[in-house]
């Protein structure tokens, strides 16, 4: 994945401070120790991030609320024009996906520049760099909580869909957090070595959103002619982590995909598989991050 940086310190003799080729498990353990021992730094950086966001723009943190609402308006108009008859209570149908997606895409975008923008500090102080994407991810949680305000309001506007199934919501969000964190750690390190990754990322994220069952449901997709003749596409679409997440959010907030059934428990098995997969992804991301971390001071 990253050919040059991994090898540039390959033939080094043993150093006492840091041996040149520690095993991946050692790296993982170091990464976790870094995170646990620097929780306060992560907290400070998160607070600084929130403060900056709040002070840099006129409406401050209100954008966390406005942004998904404006997106909602755009998509509702858009889909009402091109689709003959969208699902009943369509705004709630898509908003159950817009808010979580906003969380994910904002964190990944911010994380991609998190190590780069700290270049000056990295050349001056020895600190575990993994705190940078981590604080971006935790700032994202705060933003997500803001985004729950309009989501909660929209749910209250559809009182017949309000149910106890909402207790599943934090569970689904927790799985998404692990997946998001893994992605944040990965892109923050990769962007140091490939500076144009940030450009590509915007397009990848947009494509990912439209390929995920956010504006439509997996069931809608399976009913299309194309997927009926190419069932493999439907299978692949179901393997998308955000297919699992969006379907789960929709199940507990909105109900069945056709809009007739009331909220029900999510596909717990799929969520469990996604959680396990995300934990593996997170472990691999931390290993990769720790592997290339010593090169940051040279490259930045």
């Amino acid at each position: 994945m990253l050919p040059c940086p991994l090898m540039s310190s390959g033939n080094a003799a043993a150093t006492v401070r840091q041996s040149p080729g520690p095993s991946s498990l050692t790296l993982l353990r170091q990464g976790i120790t870094d995170i646990l021992s620097r929780r306060r730094l992560i907290r400070y950086l998160t607070a600084a991030d929130m403060k900056k966001r709040g002070s840099d723009t006129i409406l401050g943190n209100l954008w966390w609320i406005l942004d998904p609402l404006l997106q909602l308006v755009v998509y509702v108009i858009f889909v009402s024009i091109i689709a003959a008859r969208p699902a009943p209570d369509y705004p709630l149908f898509i908003f159950a996906a817009i808010v979580p997606w906003k969380w994910f895409s904002a964190v990944i975008t911010d994380a991609s520049s998190s190590v780069l923008t700290a270049g000056l500090l990295i050349r001056q102080i020895a600190f575990p760099k993994i705190v940078l994407p981590l604080s971006t991810a935790s700032a994202g949680v705060v933003g997500f909580v803001w985004g729950l305000v309009p989501l909660g309001a929209l749910i209250l506007l559809h009182p017949h869909r309000l149910s106890l199934m909402l207790i599943w919501f934090p569970v689904i969000a927790a799985v998404q957090f692990v997946f998001t964190l893994a992605g944040a750690v990965l892109v923050s390190a990769a962007n140091v070595f490939f500076r144009d990754l940030g450009n590509a990322l915007g397009h990848v994220l947009r494509l990912w959103w439209f390929l995920s069952p956010g504006l439509f449901s997996l069931q809608n997709l399976e009913n299309t002619e194309f997927v009926k003749t190419h069932p493999i596409v439907g299978t692949l679409a179901g393997l998308n982590p955000f297919a699992v997440l969006f379907e789960a959010y929709r199940a507990v907030i909105y109900g069945t995909a056709d809009g007739k059934g009331l909220p029900h428990p999510p596909d717990v098995l799929a969520l469990f598989y996604l959680l396990v997969g995300s934990l593996v992804f997170l472990a691999l991301s931390i290993m990769l991050f720790k592997r290339v971390e010593p090169e940051f001071a040279k490259v930045l």
Binding site: P5, R17, A48, I122, I125, F127, F193, P294, A297, K298
Partner: protein, 276 residues
């Protein structure tokens, strides 16, 4: 390496290699192009075959022209950079003043920057709050301490950075050109503080262009040129060699300029400036 020898810092045959291709802003496009065209990696040794051993209570002055690898050496000792070859062992808590004046976050106030700086340096919360009044007092910024860092002048920022970094009592102190920050008043004050720290610290490595300082406060000196050790030994001797070589180089440049028919004075004015 045996634990019985009482060194504070030991570095054996250090080498730091930069991959020039990576230090330029790399993109996927250039990486693919390099791979397809099979361009060999361009490499550059910022530091090579450098061995130092510092006992407790010693103060080592590192001198040399710009781009000699002095700051890179400090970065390796501080643990910021991993050596490409050789071994490094640093015993005890290290505090470094490497490139002051950056501050930590321009949007945050002075006080918040102190707290953030403490967290970056890995100090525990109680300790930082304990040190807070003395840091604020030493920085001497008045009401500005509650204003965002972006409203500070460069000198004010340097004062705050210096105050934060010297607040801790480290075992090993790494100093990079810190004696040239702030106004005359603050310079005197900071010089005092550094002397204090030098006395208290178990080991000091100092990068400077102030030869008087090296002669007066260091008990050993190291001359680096182009990443290689030219001489290591008594400060007087090393400083003399450095000054001689600098004068020699200047004379050679002067002669070359005359031979080329250029006014050497104009050339001297055009020189200067570090790597960053």
């Amino acid at each position: 390496m045996s634990r019985s020898s009482g060194y504070a810092i030991k570095a054996v045959d250090l080498g730091v290699r930069y991959n020039l291709r990576l230090t330029r802003k790399t993109t996927v496009r250039t990486s693919v192009a390099n791979f397809v065209l099979r361009r060999p990696p361009q490499r550059f040794w910022a530091l090579r075959h450098v061995s130092i051993e510092l006992s407790h209570g010693e103060s080592l002055g590192v001198i040399g022209p710009n781009g000699a690898g002095k700051s890179t050496l400090l970065q390796v000792l501080a643990g910021i950079m991993r050596p490409s070859e050789g071994a490094v062992d640093v015993r005890g808590q290290v505090s470094g003043l490497l490139g002051l004046g950056a501050g930590f976050d321009p949007e945050l106030s002075g006080v918040e920057n102190i707290l953030l700086g403490g967290a970056f340096l890995g100090l525990d919360d109680v300790k930082v709050h304990e040190l807070l009044p003395s840091i604020i007092e030493f920085a001497g910024l008045g009401d500005f301490i509650d204003a965002p860092l972006k409203t500070y002048s460069a000198g004010m920022r340097a004062r705050l950075g210096f105050a934060i970094a010297t607040a801790v009592d480290p075992d090993i102190l790494l100093l990079d050109e810190v004696l040239a920050t702030g106004d005359a008043n603050f310079r005197a004050k900071s010089k005092e503080r550094v002397i204090e720290l030098v006395r208290a610290a178990k080991g000091v490595v100092l990068v400077t262009h102030d030869m008087e300082w090296v002669r007066e406060y260091c008990n050993r000196a190291l001359l680096l040129e182009k990443g290689r050790v030219v001489l290591e030994g008594a400060p007087d001797e090393v400083v003399k060699l450095h000054l001689d070589r600098t004068a020699e180089e200047a004379a050679a440049r002067h002669a070359a300029a005359l031979a080329a028919g250029i006014d050497p004075a104009a050339l001297a004015g055009a020189r200067g400036g570090g790597r960053r």
